[in-house]
């Protein structure tokens, strides 16, 4: 892959990841949110793939395929089933409304650029310049976990955090060592499965997937 094509596809894919994160704040329909998450998973795999081809790194290419399979297909399918089983699958009353959330996302993106100055300064490459996008995705995920009250929205927030971190890891270090990468991906996958099981238990016990129903434990 030659220079300009490499740089522009890498920028495009990293941009798609951030845009998908913003879309999850913007759309209230949970099935649309899960679709955005799937696209984000594929874009993340594409970033790893581009870096792998560029650096002739076979391990990274294998990791890219695994990322696409787990974050692009498996996890969105798992979430999609829960969404389909819940007829009122919309984020009804977010604590912060949509326009304010979008402004928040913009502010968080600025914050990400500020906080990652030392990282960008250390890596003077195209990939290094894109690191703030990963941080922005992470912060948006954090934000959406705090302001959204649907069980699924919280899982989506957690996945945004995770995808943001994975993007930073790919761009900044071309991926952590394989053993750690595999362990980390497996852990995330299991965490999502566990959350999904809990959501199913919640559904069968309360008939809703709203975290506002969980108010028993107080001081």
């Amino acid at each position: 892959m030659n220079g300009p094509a490499y740089a522009s596809t890498l920028e495009l894919m990293s941009g798609v990841i951030l845009v998908c994160a913003v879309v999850t704040l913007w759309r209230r329909s949970l099935s649309a949110v899960v679709k955005a998450l799937a696209i984000q998973g594929f874009a993340l795999g594409a970033v790893a793939l581009i870096l792998g081809i560029r650096q002739h790194d076979a391990v990274l290419i294998v990791v890219a395929c695994l990322v696409m399979a787990s974050k692009g297909v498996v996890i969105p399918t798992l979430l999609g089933r829960v969404v389909a089983s819940d007829p009122s699958s919309r984020e009804a009353t977010p604590i912060v409304n949509v326009p304010a959330s979008l402004v928040g996302a913009a502010a968080l993106t600025f914050l990400a650029y500020g906080a990652t100055q030392p990282v960008v300064a250390l890596i003077p490459t195209t990939a290094g310049r894109l690191v703030p996008l990963g941080f922005a995705t992470l912060l948006i995920g954090f934000f959406s976990m705090v302001v959204r009250r649907k069980a699924i929205s919280q899982i989506v927030g957690l996945l945004l955090v995770d995808n943001g971190i994975a993007l930073v890891a790919f761009l900044a270090t071309a991926g952590v060592p394989l053993l750690v990468e595999l362990g980390a991906s497996l852990d995330v996958l299991l965490a999502v499965v566990v959350l999904r099981v809990l959501a199913a238990q919640m559904w069968s016990k309360f008939g809703v997937l709203d975290l506002d129903q969980l108010r028993e434990l107080r001081d």
Binding site: Q117, L158, T173, L179, G183, A184, E216, L217
Partner: protein, 486 residues
């Protein structure tokens, strides 16, 4: 070889309890396997206290004095918890609250949980350590929700949601440390082994390391239960079955703290002691203040014990902030003493819940008169936990305060003493209500079986011996403190 045995034995027992239908002997087999871990831990300690670290798989597993000490802590409290698990499962099966299959699942998960904690402390690679700590979160979520009530479902959700985000921050911190190591020079040698990171720690980029250590303190701090990310802790620890609360509160928190100690040593090299110290002092003091204010009005004795853990983690964070050899040795002694005392108290509270059917402080009265053995263990456990002599927590708290004063953190030590005094008063008044007074007329004195009280009394005696003589761990504590002290 011994490092591998430590992991293989509890894992094997876990597999056995997964395939065999649950019987009492399966439970005792699990206890025996953790006992074997304790023995291996002692064996490892004897080898590494004067010799070089033990490694396996080309450095993926690496046991130095600090790791060996943590293996002993996990083994000791693990034995207590799995011992009581047999009784817990018996009671649940008799009461029809859980099926054979659930009992098997419980045993298997406990074994997996202990194995994951052991992997976290014997891993030589900080990435593998992270994977193991995250694995503990996933495994324990099901254990927290084992009773399948509305409250335990809520607690599990909060637990996994908050801890997963926290631990994700720690992963980002780890990635940034790796990034800094990649840019030190010799690219091909950069990896995530703790020893190689320590070797280059003075050359790591300070800008990146500042960001990394902040994320690591926040991230692992979530699992340690340090404020402001502590809100999952009282819920999870009060809703989990008693043996699980004992393991989570007694060891899991400090296993996460162990990870923090490892990274602090790297950050000290890269940045000097000032920034890591400031971060730890901030979260430590905040935890103490939060614990003190919430303990005053506590109505539930399991939540009371949970907030007490937040206090002790705050104390440990302050001790680690001082970072001298004396401070770290005191921190490690505190980790063991707190684990034993808190383990005993949570297990006793499980017995109280079984006997009285409530976790409300106001509903439990005159335990010493009505259930002398149980009440006595609870009373001595509280005395130990509040840091009164002769128990080891007194010695470790005293030495942490001394060390803090030596490095100019006297003001922080003073604030911590005020918080401890408030907590002392609050817990004493709650404890007095539960323990003293005369039982209702005509009620028989209830006996508690010796098989329940014996290990608890043993743990308290151990804690007292450590406090008076520091025997037999003095040499190991010195060697372990040397590993990460500044």
């Amino acid at each position: 070889m011994l490092a591998l045995v430590v992991l293989a034995v509890p894992f094997g027992a876990g597999v056995a309890s997964a395939v065999a239908p649950w019987r009492r002997w399966v439970g005792w087999l699990c206890t025996a396997s953790i006992g074997a871990v304790l023995v291996c831990g002692v064996g490892l300690a004897v080898r590494v206290v004067h010799g070089p670290p033990v490694t396996a798989f080309g450095g993926v597993l690496r046991v130095d004095a600090l790791s060996a000490f943590m293996v002993i802590v996990i083994g000791a409290i693990g034995v207590l918890a799995t011992w009581q698990s047999v009784r817990y499962l018996d009671a649940e099966l008799v009461a029809g609250r859980c099926s054979q299959r659930h009992a098997s699942l419980y045993s298997m998960l406990v074994q997996g949980f202990v194995t994951a904690m052991l992997l976290a402390v014997v891993a030589g690679n900080v990435g593998v350590m992270w994977v193991a700590v995250e694995a503990t979160t996933i495994i324990t979520t099901f254990l927290v929700g084992h009773r399948r009530t509305r409250g335990s479902l809520e607690a599990s959700w909060k637990y996994i949601a908050i801890c997963s985000v926290g631990i994700a921050m720690a992963f980002l911190g780890t990635v940034l440390v790796y990034l800094a190591a990649l840019h030190v020079g010799h690219h091909e040698h950069a990896n995530l082994d703790w020893t190689s990171l320590m070797a280059v720690s003075h050359h790591l980029d300070p800008g990146v390391m500042r960001l990394a250590i902040a994320l690591l303190v926040l991230g692992y701090g979530t699992k340690v239960g340090l404020a402001p990310m502590h809100s999952w802790l009282p819920d999870a620890h009060s809703q989990a079955p008693a043996p699980i609360s004992a393991l989570m509160s007694g060891v899991l928190l400090t296993v996460a703290f162990y990870a923090l100690l490892r990274f602090k040593a790297i950050a000290d090299g890269a940045l000097g002691v000032a920034l890591p110290r400031a971060l730890l002092v901030a979260v430590g003091l905040l935890s103490l203040v939060v614990a003190a204010s919430l303990l005053l009005s506590q109505r539930d004795y399991k939540r009371m014990l949970a907030y007490h853990s937040v206090e002790h983690m705050g104390l440990i964070a302050l001790g680690a902030a001082a970072g001298t050899r004396l401070a770290i040795a005191a921190v490690l002694l505190h980790i063991l003493g707190h684990g034993l005392a808190k383990g005993v108290l949570f297990l006793t509270s499980g017995e109280i819940l079984l006997a009285e059917g409530t976790t409300e402080i106001a509903q439990v009265k005159a335990l010493l008169a009505r259930r002398p053995a149980l009440g006595g263990v609870f009373a001595f456990g509280l005395v130990a936990l509040l840091g009164l002599p002769p128990f080891s927590l007194f010695v470790s708290e005293l030495n942490m305060v001394r060390a803090e004063t030596q490095v100019g953190l006297g003001w922080a030590a003073a604030i911590s003493l005020v918080c401890m005094a408030v907590i002392f008063g609050a817990v004493m008044s709650h404890g007095r209500h539960m323990l003293f007074g005369a039982g209702p007329d005509g009620e028989q004195v209830h006996k508690t079986p010796a098989i329940v009280t014996a290990p608890l009394i043993g743990a308290l005696i151990g804690c007292a011996i450590l406090g008076v003589l520091a025997w037999p761990l003095a040499g190991l504590l010195r060697a372990a403190a040397q590993v990460v002290a500044t």
